[in-house]
Symmetry: C2
DNA sequence: ATTGTATATGACACAGTGTCATTTGTCAAT
DNA sequence: ATTGACAAATGACACTGTGTCATATACAAT
């Protein structure tokens, strides 16, 4: 977490730093991002950086928390739009994020993040204890709306389903943006979702 | 790829380098691994390293190719043992890798790799053009053995199924080794596999 | 012995990190 | 208005690591 010193800064200065950080984190994966570039771009002294943040990771997590805040708002809109149907939500999410990813302007940071999530980071999405109360609530609502539809017995199982859906969707988004003809890529994604819906075993 | 200079080295010297690399890559994620440590441990001059390898990435990929070679042999044994049943194979694989991961000795490199695969690396597993002919053949055999069992129409769809299975298994292995009580973790894994087998939608 | 080619070497230039002693700014109390 | 005390800013510095290159060495062929 940034220090109080940082939060006490003028909005203008804070924004300048946030903007510089966004730019740098969009340029290269986290490990290659350089504090040097950020402080130069934001026009603060190197020492100041360490007054505000513990290190690069600290700043990165702060930037992420801002992004996640934005996304949460968006997510609620999508959930409403699709009446809470979890599968439709993920398909919409896929289309939405591909759309965002295609637009050069805002997409680079987004792509850096998506492509460079590690397995071990990724695990914490749902399990994480510090999950916001609001997100927790959203999850419960979703469970209520989907439990009749799905083959699940409790909220724990619902979380498993979401994790699988998320894993598939994330993979597919990265693959689409990276390698494939978008039409074909979407077909593959939908096929994978179908497998999950109907099962891969032949019914006898 | 390492240079000819490297391959011309005495077995002894090569092994010393490989051993040092293994040690360093087991210690920290790739980005943090230091060439300095490797050359010191292997007792070669810094300049020599750059005679043998382009950079850290180059060495890492070489080390990985050795590991994958080992794994391929293992995989064939497992496939035979489970009569080619793809689902049983992945369950066996899970158990096998957890077993390996539990043993301190060899496990650190393995864990580093598994935890730190990025989404974008991960994508290339099956799509990769340079997939070994032998692996290609294995895949075809597996398709023949599973096509009656599964709800699929062609080899492309079979690949999708494998990718999903792989994504789930990998996630679960990392989660198990990292966070959870192993018994409970295995239950979660099996549940996720069941979802994929039978489908998450309630049949009406 | 001489030459040519492959290999080895470590000092060097460069780039980046995190720290710390010092300076500068702010503001409440007098 | 001055002082003192605390908060914030600064950049030089010590450190760690990378990749390169001119030079040294080994050794095979003639």
């Amino acid at each position: 977490m940034p220090t109080n010193t940082f939060f006490n800064l003028s909005e203008e200065k804070k924004n300048k730093i946030i903007k510089a950080a966004n730019k740098e984190f969009a340029r290269v994966p986290l490990e290659q991002a350089s504090i040097k570039n950020i402080v130069e771009d934001a026009e603060i002294a190197r020492g100041s950086f360490y007054q505000y943040f513990e290190d690069k990771q600290d700043l990165f997590e702060y930037i992420m928390s801002l992004k996640i805040g934005d996304m949460e708002k968006n997510l609620n809109k999508i959930i409403e739009q699709e009446n809470g149907n979890i599968i439709k939500i993920f398909i919409y999410l896929y289309d939405h994020l591909i759309e965002v990813g295609k637009i050069r302007k805002n997409s680079k940071l987004f792509r850096q993040i998506f492509e460079n999530i590690k397995t071990s980071d990724n695990l914490m999405l749902i399990r994480k204890k510090e999950m916001s109360k609001r997100l927790e609530k959203t999850l419960q609502d979703l469970y209520q709306k989907n439990k009749e539809l799905l083959n699940i017995n409790n909220e724990e199982e619902f979380k498993l389903v979401i994790e699988i859906l998320f894993a598939i969707t994330r993979r597919r988004i990265v693959a689409s943006l990276k390698y494939k003809d978008l039409g074909e890529a979407r077909e593959d994604f939908l096929k994978e979702i179908k497998f999950l819906e109907k099962g891969i075993l032949k019914q006898n």
